[in-house]
Symmetry: C2
Subunit: 418 residues, 2 copies
Amino acid sequence: MGRLVMKFGGTSVADIDRIRNVARHVEREVKAGHQVAVVVSAMAGTTDRLVGWCRDAAPVHDAREYDAVVASGEQVTAGLLAITLQDIGIPARSWSGWQIPIRTDGVHGAARIAEIDAKELRKRMEQGQVAVIAGFQGLGPDKRVTTLGRGGSDTSAVAVAAALEARCDIYTDVDGVYTTDPRIVSKARKLSRISYEEMLEQASLGAKVLQTRSVELAMVYKVPLQVRSSFDPPDSLDQDRADGTGPGTLVCDEDEIVEQHVVSGIAYSRDEAKVSIRKVKDRPGVSASIFGPLAEADISVDMIVQNVSADGETANITFTLARKDLRKALEVLNRVKDKVGFLELTHSEDVAKVSVVGIGMRSHAGVAARMFKALADKGINIQAITTSEIKVSVLIDEAYTELAVRALHAAYGLEAAN
Amino acid sequence: MGRLVMKFGGTSVADIDRIRNVARHVEREVKAGHQVAVVVSAMAGTTDRLVGWCRDAAPVHDAREYDAVVASGEQVTAGLLAITLQDIGIPARSWSGWQIPIRTDGVHGAARIAEIDAKELRKRMEQGQVAVIAGFQGLGPDKRVTTLGRGGSDTSAVAVAAALEARCDIYTDVDGVYTTDPRIVSKARKLSRISYEEMLEQASLGAKVLQTRSVELAMVYKVPLQVRSSFDPPDSLDQDRADGTGPGTLVCDEDEIVEQHVVSGIAYSRDEAKVSIRKVKDRPGVSASIFGPLAEADISVDMIVQNVSADGETANITFTLARKDLRKALEVLNRVKDKVGFLELTHSEDVAKVSVVGIGMRSHAGVAARMFKALADKGINIQAITTSEIKVSVLIDEAYTELAVRALHAAYGLEAAN
């Protein structure tokens, strides 16, 4: 019962047959008595085609026009799903971002949702009409269409759920959140529940199930988020489980997780690059002279390691960043070389980040130590470390990624747990 | 100088290279000092694909959702052309129907434009920004996207030109309006000018250069309309001709046509079907009992021929209609058979309509007579006739279409005239 937002990604709506399958999932929830809003992505391949056209038209192009072009993909899916729902007797209506409207800021191509006026949606949902909403888009202050950036449909769904005070089910091509990537560890276990904080770390650390911003938003607005598979037969998901969880993984407040594990998952990312600056003159303000220009160039730096050299007068600074930003970062640093004063710049793309995540870490000592030991046992060298309250990440040689993930999954007993 | 609306159809914007070609046409007009708005169709093939998806989703579907899906095609082209224009240094901005807005009535799938608020467009055009407008669409009273029906981009262009008090150039894949279809008569001659009335008849009678409603609208608002080719090299169209006409065909008020011809063109349409109702009881109100139900079923009837039978008590009624409506018409008539009282219903799709058009007919007698003689000379039987002030149409066996067109083109000396 109650209000429910269902979100379906590009592969779940890739063709009319799959859209029909989505309609059956929606039908099930409507028949269960829910007031339903559905958020859809563009049909798989559509956004890439539209982006390709924009690039062909001009390699560097106006983000406003890019948004106008690219947002069309989701509008098509929304209309087609509305037609399909009506065809099986379910009242439905499609909504583009500007129609609701979903108001965003003016950062075209990567807009953030500012406000959703859900009055009309609520009214119609109460009357039994399913609202089919084009994800990934909104209306900017300039009255032009904005898009939220790749993967933004998850964010749309959570924002709509927040505005409707609804639960949010994210349908994807996997059936939940696992302790780690099942392609690497065949015994990876599906979690029935995971906390917002852990999911957020997982998403930022490379797990691709949910988009980081959507989890942030869910956490802030306490939107119960469920990850489940759109490829399961629509009828088999009829009933919630006896333990109160659904068939997928529920992302929720940690208070709602009865049986907490110290570590809930192992994440990894190959999207890393490492830059080392050798023999930097060690003086006050030197870090700012390096990281200031990088920030100005919109480059996010992740791990930072600083060692004083043997001579005591210079330092070596190593940091990591997203692989796509490497070239730009090197340009920026070479430009400020004289001002900063350093001897040498080296870089590597053969690195990966492997992370252990778990809210139980807060109250359990020895999590990091166990990680370092497990890696050492396999002869894996740690190049850098960062930690937060609920995660430990290490940078390693990329070739050891799978080995490290398997060793850590075993070391924390993740496959054995129930 | 002054304001100019340029319209480009689907084949003119079929891919990025062609869109770039369109941008060069626009550049030429901007450099000539015009304030330019461009109206674009969807890239060739796009609308068919979108329509196909709607049909696959449900053979009978909500016109509102059809509109939401199908209107996306023009939005994509508008964004891509804006990007391409900006890339060659011309300020440009895309506009969807709802953004301007182009207000229409609520007849989804075949809406009529009610009002265009061109204030913002005017302002920006005065500032030198080219407005790239998605054709074929508007915003209905229900705040939902409407479409104007196939070929509606011509209508969009004329309506925008009327609102901007601008000239309207329709770029297409032919370089103007011809005395008849050059694929049938190789010596068909391009007209430098044609009156609104003649163009309207031509369009209704099967010539595919311009959409009927766009010509109607141009006539009402006195929008000078020029038909020209988008495949000519953009630079070669630089100058208007010495006689004041452009490189294509100007559709204008008849007062502006100095050298008037009695007949300006021969049109034909194979999109015809014929229905004969035999032995209808001849009593008052019988016509209404036949054509009333057809009108209610939204079927337009064209030519009607009624003969009293030999018995003096019954009549035979023959009429023509669009081929696509034939099946529905037969259903309607069979349903009312008992009420109307007739013996037999026969039909044929092997018919074509050939028409002679010219404003000179008003003041010249003998136009129809010459037509009938030319056809008789070739042994072509006339099955039905309709006339208006400026056209004579005949229904013939479809197999004789080309022969009839060639005979009439020669009979009125259309190829010889200058």
